[in-house]
């Protein structure tokens, strides 16, 4: 018996090693000839479910438009949930270990994205984030394997604040009381002087606030020219409804970042109002031919227009598929190198992932909710792009020193 127990660890280890080797060989085999698996991490439940659905539809359509194939092999999408940072991170790990994905597209919330990024860096799997606006993602936490399509909060505020000062000089801030809202407040305050405006009040609102009537009464007393906000999702929809209910819609303009079309479709034409900065709008005459085709295909398939989130899911997936094609390989390092060289020149202003921080450099649009909404979906008029050409756009996204990313080696 004694001798047996001596040999046991050895044999067991050998067995494990053998199995692992077999598994690796099997995985390598599957990766070369079987379908190309790509992971998606978007919300399936809770308040983010509607946004998750639009992101997923965009990504899915990009695959369909590519004929469902890349490098002549079928594409298989595996969609897991993004309920909170912990589970999103576990799901990212699961996609890598169990589903053997070659890359992941997903992460709408900065907190989840930061958790998923650590897995991407450790496992060396490319991750493209269609959302997640926190500066540090392409700043001090930047990673060689992570790319982001969404513009950061400071970049969005830089596009918006000059517009705010055209409306009026007295600004009231209504922002959510967590990292994202504080980011808005910080960036906006640093720009106030530059645009010649001043602050007459500020409220940082806790997440999941159902009733805004007390805040609205307060804003009414302060008599600002304009309210600059950053409420998101259900909180934002609740606010809009009550803003309209209390008769403020016609009185004080509301201006904000980080909204999506579904926020307005959820509250309906009666309560929708304001001026916003958005990555994209489906009914923008300046959209490229490919974007117009995307809108058309989306309408045909889902019977409603794509939201800006669908566009983000679509462009993130397209950049990945085009980079895999360019690299002629599903090997992670090759994909990353190709993504760093990827450029889209279909529209008036070309856009690309900046190689030193992996941020997509692209102008956003400033939109205004129509005074008289007639269409079931078309709520916005596009006022202008945040920047007119490639050089101006690059300037708006800030220099190396400001961004603070020291990109690790591959």
């Amino acid at each position: 018996m004694a001798s047996l127990s001596v040999f046991r660890p050895f044999t067991r280890r050998a067995l494990v090693c053998g199995l692992a080797a077999l598994g690796l060989a099997g995985a390598a085999f599957a990766q070369d000839t079987g379908p190309v698996r790509i992971g998606l991490i978007y919300s399936k439940q809770g308040p983010g479910a509607a946004i998750g659905e639009f992101l997923q539809k965009g990504s899915e359509l990009a695959v369909e438009q590519a004929g469902g194939k890349v490098l002549g092999r079928a594409i298989e999408l595996v969609w897991l949930d993004e309920p909170n940072p912990q589970v999103s991170q576990q799901n990212m790990q699961k996609l890598v270990n169990e589903n053997k994905v070659v890359a992941v597209v997903g992460g709408n919330y900065s907190s989840s994205a930061l958790a998923m990024m650590s897995v991407a860096a450790r496992e060396k799997i490319p991750l493209i984030l269609p959302g997640a606006a926190a500066s540090e993602i392409t700043g001090k936490n930047c990673s060689r394997y992570v790319f982001r399509t969404q513009a950061t909060v400071p970049v969005q505020m830089r596009g918006l604040m000059p517009y705010v000062s055209q409306i009026g000089k007295k600004v009231y801030f209504l922002t959510p009381s967590y990292a994202f809202g504080q980011d808005i407040l910080r960036s906006a305050r640093s720009l106030l002087k530059q645009v010649g405006a001043s602050e007459v009040g500020v409220d940082e609102v806790p997440l999941n606030t159902a009733d805004y009537s007390s805040y609205i009464l307060k804003i009414r007393q302060a008599k600002p020219d304009v309210v600059v906000g950053g409420l998101v999702g259900g909180d934002f929809s609740n606010f809009l409804k009550q803003w309209n209910e209390m008769g403020m819609r016609e009185k004080i303009p509301y201006v904000a970042v980080a909204v999506t079309d579904t926020d307005f479709w959820d509250v309906g034409p009666q309560a929708s109002t304001g001026i916003y900065i958005k990555p994209w709008y489906y009914n923008n005459p300046k959209n490229s031919a490919a974007e117009k085709k995307f809108t058309e295909d989306f309408m045909k398939k889902y019977n409603r227009p794509p939201s800006d989130k669908s566009w983000s899911g679509w462009i993130a997936m397209r950049s990945l598929l085009e980079s895999i094609t360019a690299a002629k390989s599903t090997e992670p390092k090759a994909i990353v190198t190709a993504l760093e060289k990827w450029k889209n020149a279909e529209g008036a202003t070309p856009f690309y992932f900046r190689d030193w921080d992996h941020q997509l450099v692209r102008p956003a649009v400033i939109v205004k909710v129509k005074a008289n909404i007639k269409d079931k979906w078309d709520y916005m008029d596009v006022l202008k792009d945040t920047s007119a050409n490639e050089a101006e756009t690059a300037r708006a996204f800030g220099g190396k020193e400001e961004v603070g990313c020291s990109m690790p080696a591959l």
Binding site: E204, S213, Y215, N238, G268
Partner: protein, 289 residues
Amino acid sequence: MLDTLVSQTANGLVLGFIYVLIAVGLSITFGLLGVINFAHGAFFALGAYAAWQLYQLWGWWAVVLAPPLVGVAGMVVEVAIIRRLYGKEPLLSLIVTFALALLIEALIRLLWGADGKPFSPPPFLNGIVEYGPLLITKYRVAVLGTTVATLLALWAFLAWTPYGRILRAGSRDPEMVELLGIRLPRVLTAVFGLGCALAAIAGVLAAPLWTVSPSMAAGAIMPAFVIVAIGGLGSFPGAVVAGLAVGVVMSLTIQFKADAAAASMYALMFLVLLLRPRGLFGERWERFE
């Protein structure tokens, strides 16, 4: 300054009444059945969705059908699931009703989709009423009227009708009530249905104020639990007083120290429970000691 105080207090009272309506259903279910219903918020959301659907089908008048419909759904749930929890330890009812809440939310998403449904106040209730420093929207005045009427009717029902007496007796001494020849299980089914219908009334009234989405109860259900704890578990007047107090405290905190808005109702709960551990109107109940 005084104007501000008056206007925010009035606003807080109106908001408080909506919270009372949500909390009262929760309190009745607990007081009479001994079940802490975590799915109360889900029935609230179900009420809002039922109202939206009925409005789409037949217009404004049809929304009054939403609460009875949700009440019936609640009765079905009681017979199928909740009934098995009576007399068991409270933890079990917490877990089962929590699962039920998730299930109902998923069902709503399956039936109506994950995105919200546009729902605004009816056109005849658009606009605001201004009276000196007071500013209240017409819709909120209507909500206030409906809520007060509902609460009065409920109180009269429990205090004065024979049926109400059976309910109150059954909550204290179920055995004695059964010995008197009353079939208690049927009564309890109706009580659970009543609790759900009350949640649904709150849901219908909240639908034009808050976004109608599957997880719409998230922001409303916590105040309801806090109100029940402050007022005293199972106490009807307790829920009313606590609800109004929470509404006013929250409004005034937002006015003068907005950072503390989320914490204010918990601070109030902490203070009340420190002085009166059973809540403001909480009595000593043999069953729960």
